[in-house]
């Protein structure tokens, strides 16, 4: 520790009223008074009236006086001793920043919090939030989505009304897993743009396209798809994905967005894909359970997945046009799902 009376640093003095920059020497006397002395500066200031800026790497430290004047003190051998003699001690955060052990600790803590939060915290939070969204809001949300889809992508179904009613009625006869009824409504739409597909809205509205119905050999296959969609409804996947993707997007933009919003959007898509894969697997499991407990084979759902996959690898494409079809056909997620269902 340097004797306070001998502590001395060089810096520049600014009076806070003009931009004049004055070279000064700062000394601290035995009574705790700082003397700022330069060619046209001569100021005495008790050290209690001086606040010291925190160290920020190679930036100068500022000794700030109450009237707005300050001294800029660049890095120099005696600076730390002088600042200590002023009675200033750095905050815990500053000390953490200057020690590599704390820096490494922060990094590890951060990784753990993020990994646990992403893997367990966010799905849990999404489930809790999804449970608490009032049914009226869910209904409005779903009606809006359906109206939008009807305008943009769907035409009225061309299937005979009897056929549609029969499928819906057969599905109503099935017992859901655990006997827990899930309110739902099955609708049919034609959609050349979307092709063979089925989707579930959070309110329980399940939409099946005519193209999907045409793909099936018997009604049991349609029922298999419906059990999968009912799984999405029961587990509130739509609402959960909404929460999950919003949080992932927000956190990533905050973390990386400073550098590039493009850099943030790519990992966001990848990280969100995990949640939708998990939801698909959960809906498959629900569907398989429901099929089994009603004496139907889960393989029905597996074969439907295969057919759906094949139908989306553009029909009638020539053999030499492989680029896109191959990608879809070898899409690993779907293969895994099909195998998992076959094993059930």
């Amino acid at each position: 520790m340097t004797d306070p009376t001998s502590a001395r640093v060089a810096g520049h003095y600014f009076d806070g009223r003009t931009s004049a920059r004055r070279a000064v020497a700062l000394t601290l006397d035995a009574f705790g008074v700082v003397h700022v002395q330069g060619s046209d500066v001569d100021r005495f200031e008790p050290m209690a009236g001086i606040s010291v800026s925190e160290p920020l790497g190679g930036a100068p430290r500022l000794l700030m006086f109450r009237d707005g004047a300050y001294c800029e003190v660049p890095a120099q051998p005696d600076r730390d001793a002088f600042v200590a003699a002023l009675g200033h001690s750095d905050s815990h955060v500053v000390r953490a920043q200057s020690r590599w052990s704390w820096v490494a600790g922060s990094a590890i803590l951060l990784l753990v919090v993020i990994a646990v939060g992403y893997r367990f915290g966010l799905p849990w939070l999404a489930e809790k939030i999804a449970e608490r969204i009032p049914a009226s809001i869910v209904a409005t949300l779903s009606d809006q989505t359906l109206a939008l889809l009807d305008r943009a992508a769907f035409d009225p179904s061309k299937l005979p009304e009897g056929r549609r009613n029969r499928i819906a009625e057969q599905f109503r006869q099935l017992t859901p897993p655990g006997g827990v009824p899930v309110p739902h409504e099955v609708l049919f739409r034609a959609s050349p743009e979307i092709g063979a597909n089925a989707l579930a809205l959070p309110s329980g509205t399940i939409i099946v396209t005519d193209e999907l119905v045409k793909l099936t050999e018997n009604d049991a296959e349609i029922l298999a798809v419906l059990t999968h969609e009912l799984g999405h409804v029961h587990e509130r996947h739509g609402l959960r994905l909404l929460v999950e993707s919003s949080v992932v997007g927000f956190v990533l933009t905050w973390y990386i967005g400073d550098v590039s919003s493009l850099a943030a959007s790519v990992p966001a898509a990848l990280l969100q894909a995990r949640f939708s894969r998990e939801h698909e697997a959960a809906a498959d499991a629900y569907g398989a359970n429901m099929l089994k407990s009603n004496g139907l084979s889960p393989a029905l759902l597996a074969s439907m997945l295969e057919k759906l996959e094949a139908s989306h690898g553009s029909p009638g494409a020539a053999a030499d046009d492989k680029s896109i079809n191959d990608y879809l056909a070898s899409h690993p997620a779907t293969r895994e799902r099909i195998e998992a269902l076959r094993k059930r």
Binding site: L242, I256, V259
Partner: protein, 352 residues
């Protein structure tokens, strides 16, 4: 040493280059501790983190032997953040549930946006200083509505033909209304000069799009009788290219050109500035930063930020016409942080 200032100043004072003295390693430690504390405190600490981050960059930016400083108060920023965050959560929820509700929420926000952006400009400058004197922004509210509401509409209606003119009006609003102490900044870049960089960017984009489009079409056997798959592939490549080239090539190109244009036509009292950003270097820095950030899962972010700041600062020079010791402080009012924080959440960068 600098005492005899009442005498006439020397004829041409030396040019004063801006310098950035920060380093990636230093900033990394500040950054990681900031992030860990922000996560642990569920975001509350982010206001303190922001002050520390800005102080690091301001105090490491020097010109004429003195550094800049940032005086924003964390508590004010936290309050601003809480309000801005609340507004955005409400908007996002409304948007997801009912578009009519979303519009009802969005309209007041859009109407208030020019006011908020002006607040943001005021906040940033009022809490920035050099040599102990504060900067300030004195643009009027009515001009804010012209620049931030009327001009975007005009640019949209004119199918972006008036876009560069809007950009000129925006920079003029910012620079013509800024002050340092009692000295005023003045902005003299013409509308015509803003069209040059935009036209060149457009031509470059068109040229590249044709080359990539033809290449993609040739590779996938695009032509009469081509399958739908091949056509989709070509479209996907061309759109992907348009998106990537805009964000990694044309964006930085425009940033460099406009930044140079703006600062080379800005004066502070009798003093002038010079800005010599090179588009090629900026593209390289931003592109390599992007790749390194992705490869390191974001750990490169603080190094990237320092690298970019160092280059941008090193391209600026102050050309003094007289002594820099004679600026005088002006009266200061305090400014609320809501506008600044909302602007940050919406990713509105007014520095371009």
């Amino acid at each position: 040493m600098e005492a005899e200032q009442s005498q006439p100043a020397p004829p041409t004072p030396a040019a004063e280059p801006f310098q950035f003295t920060g380093s990636g390693g230093e900033y990394f430690r500040i950054w990681i501790v900031n992030i860990a504390l922000t996560v642990v405190t569920l975001g509350i600490y982010s206001a303190w983190a922001k002050v520390r981050r800005l102080q690091y960059f301001y105090r490491n930016t020097r010109v004429a032997g003195s550094s800049f400083d940032y005086h924003g108060r964390p508590t004010a920023i936290l309050k601003g953040r809480a309000i801005a965050f609340g507004l955005l959560v409400i908007y996002n929820l409304a948007e997801k549930f009912d578009f009519r509700l979303a519009i009802a929420v969005a309209i007041p926000i859009v109407i208030a946006l020019p006011w908020m952006l002006r607040q943001s400009l005021r906040f940033r400058l009022h809490y920035s200083s050099w040599r102990g004197l504060r900067f300030a922004f004195r643009g009027t509210l009515s001009s804010a509505y012209v620049v931030f509401l009327l001009w975007p509409i005009l640019a949209l209606v004119s199918l972006t033909l008036l876009g560069p003119m809007w950009h000129q009006r925006l920079k003029r609003y910012q620079h013509d209304n800024s002050t340092f102490g009692t000295a005023a900044f003045r902005f003299s870049a013409s509308v015509g000069s803003f069209y040059g960089p935009y036209l060149r960017a457009l031509l470059m984009f068109a040229g590249l799009a044709v080359v990539i489009g033809v290449a993609a079409a040739t590779m996938s056997g695009f032509g009469p009788g081509a399958s739908r798959g091949a056509m989709i592939a070509v479209m996907a490549i061309v759109f992907g290219f348009a998106f990537v080239s805009f964000s990694v090539l044309l964006g930085p190109y425009l940033l460099a050109r406009i930044q140079n244009l703006v600062w080379n036509h800005t004066t502070l009292g009798p003093h002038r500035f010079e800005c010599r950003l090179q588009a090629r270097k900026l593209v390289w820095i931003l592109l390599s930063n992007l790749l390194l950030v992705v490869v390191t899962l974001g750990l490169f972010v603080p190094f990237a930020a320092v690298r970019l700041a160092r280059y941008r600062v090193s391209c600026m020079t102050l050309l003094p016409a007289a002594s820099l010791d004679e600026f005088v402080a002006a009266e200061q009012a305090s400014v609320a942080a809501v506008g600044e924080e909302l602007g940050e959440f919406l990713d509105l960068d007014l520095s371009l």
